[in-house]
Amino acid sequence: MPTFKLDEREIPFEKGETIIQAAHRAGIDIPHYCWHPGLSVAANCRMCLVEIEPPPGRPAMMLDVLEWDADAQDYVPQKKPKLQPACQFQAGEGMVVHSEGSKNVKEARRAVQEMLLLNHPVDCPICDQAGECRLQDYWLEHQGSKKRMKDEPVHKPKAVVFGPTIVYDAERCIVCTRCIRFCDEVAGDSVLDLRERGNLNEVVLAPGRELDHDYTLMTEYVCPVGALTAVDFRFKARVWFLRSARTVCVGCATGCNAFLDFDPRDQKVYRHRPRENPDVNKYWMCDEGMLSYSRVHENRVLRAEIDGQTIEFERGLKKAAKLFKSADPDRTAIVLSAQHSNEDNFAMLVLARDYIGSGNVFVNGRPGGDSDEILRDADKNPNARGVVGLCTSAPPAPFKELATALAAGKFTHVLALGSDASDPDEVAAFEDCENLVLLTSHRGPLAAHADALLPACTWAEADGTFVNRTGIAQESERAIFPHGDSLPAWKLIAAFGRALGHSFGWTKLRHVRAAMAPDPGAEVAADAEAQSGAPA
């Protein structure tokens, strides 16, 4: 691999890569505003300027400048090398680039930073971006001086409503055009553009349009400053109070990698933002997914309920188990959920096959929805593929078949994970179900017909593995602690199994995971035990 030299360090690069790309890959951050690894190069912020030495034997490109000489008290003519934007300049074999090490580059960055802040309102206290703002970070790193301009800054429109999700503040905008390029190149809807020039430059909507495509919140996410703010997150929290968990979006089968930002003090989730993964979602997420975090708090089942009456958890568990005590395994249906993780569904399968002894396994989930070519999938369940993969002997039957069977009176007992209905028209069939026990996190369409509801955790409150549409199994971390009486679904299933009188030993997630994919050592140990005649 060819290399170039950046501040005395050899950086490998691939042919066609720019300096900033190669440095980014090597873990060196050249300061930048307008460059984004997933967008085209605009080279308009000038923050990434670097000094590139001329090829051997060639003169350097020098500029004539006037520099203030404090001794002479006058401007004197000087020569300075012409700096190049690292985001646009392609790396070449043996190239020598100076970034941090060059006095000229430092001066240029300081000047660019001062220029960008010239008309900035510096209203950080009321700006949502404060705490994760490039202007703040780079001011500290590269400028650190007070504003020298005494004039009133240029005033531009503030709190412009761009659409149902985004509010724009032109005064804070540094016109890096990331949002415009995102709409053009990724969302494929050129709804944003620039108008005017210089310090009157601002981002505007196309005439007669609103920013209302399916990826509007990404424009806010790519904005390096506080110019674009999300209506949903506006003024809700200060980012320095938030902590992030590495989760997987449960909005659809794409399984975008995400950060779930929550406030550990009140255990509340505030936002979803994309986590880079070149194999799944690159740098992006859709609005639907970014707003799906609100499911953690909305419409939750937090207490055990028997016949619609809230009841203490232990008693609820006993009563729910009592419904299943005399169940005929052949007339018992077990419903898995494509909304839940592999671990949860595996626990349900084990309960069904090994303990209850029922082979009537169905799969449920949220109904389908819109899709597009970018990220969104029509299957709105994050783990449909994982559920199918778990059922090795026979694939689970769809929800519709269960409804049909119920209408025909085939089943007397139904134990379901989740209360969604992938076919909302078929919910009525559950009305006559004598014993419907739901282990659910949300009050879905089935909840109204349930005889017993037991509270399960959402994905934000438990670790779990989700398999996306391309078959990639991805782990999602717990963000907040379980709300109310809810338990991670696998734990709830184990507790339900114990209440039924079975010896369900799992108390930790690793027990479930070990049972799902026993490591070779464990298998050998089990074999050895079996051969020596020891009880298994």
Binding site: I126, H155, R234, F235
Partner: protein
């Protein structure tokens, strides 16, 4: 059997002997205590009459300024109070703008700085059409739990708008329930500074106010 110290030291048991002390020679006058008693009572009565006179005539020394002079200089709290120093940190107040709205922009800097985490703010945005919309937000709720507060004054230091101050001169008073220590926005805004003002001398002139030096596009024709 307990071991005696003298045994341990090998000196053998010792007998403790008492010494007869003679009674001191006292006269009958001394023995009766009467002159000394009346001497002591005399001093007491001298102070009693002096204090009564000063009290009746209003000549008592000031308990704060003349605390080392003779006479009764006890502070009769709560009627009398020691004056607090100028920078005494008392209960919080929220300063007003000229139009009576809170100066606070709900930036949460105070609750970030607060080591006791006793400040809870819910920010809100000015409605569409308001002159301050876009420039400012305001606290929809502003609650201080004065029981948790440690009166460190960090909130005052952190405030970029001089919206929260601890110059009311009111110290934390005992109440009979915890709820009474939960100070909400209206109560905090009703307090005055020690000079009786509800505004601040360090006013920051906000866009939209007549005192704001700035211009906007409409007025300047950019």
């Amino acid at each position: 059997m307990t071991q005696q110290a003298s045994d341990y030291q090998g000196l053998g048991p010792q007998k403790v002997r008492g010494v007869v002390v003679r009674r001191p020679n006292r006269t009958a006058g001394v023995q009766a205590y009467i002159p000394e008693l009346s001497k002591g009572l005399g001093i007491t009565m001298k102070h009693f009459f002096k204090n009564t006179k000063e009290y009746m005539l209003g000549q008592r020394p000031d308990p704060v300024l003349e605390s080392t002079t003779d006479g009764v200089n006890t502070i009769s709290y709560p009627e009398q109070r020691r004056p607090y120093p100028e920078r005494f940190r008392g209960m919080h107040r929220l300063t007003h703008r000229d139009d009576g709205s809170p100066r606070c922009v709900a930036c949460l800097c105070c609750s970030t700085a607060c080591p006791a985490q006793c400040i809870h703010i819910e920010p809100a945005e000015y409605p569409e059409g308001d002159e301050r919309r876009g420039y400012e937000r305001y606290p929809a709720t502003f609650v201080i739990d004065e029981l948790r507060c440690v009166f460190c004054g960090f909130c005052v230091e952190a405030c970029p708008c001089d919206a929260i101050r601890m110059d009311t001169g009111i110290h934390a008073a005992p109440y009979d329930s915890r709820e009474q220590f939960i100070y909400e926005k209206d109560l905090l805004m009703s307090f005055c500074g020690r000079e009786g003002d509800q505004v601040t001398e360090n006013a920051r002139h906000e866009p939209g106010e007549s005192t704001h030096p700035g211009v906007d596009r409409e007025r300047h024709g950019h």
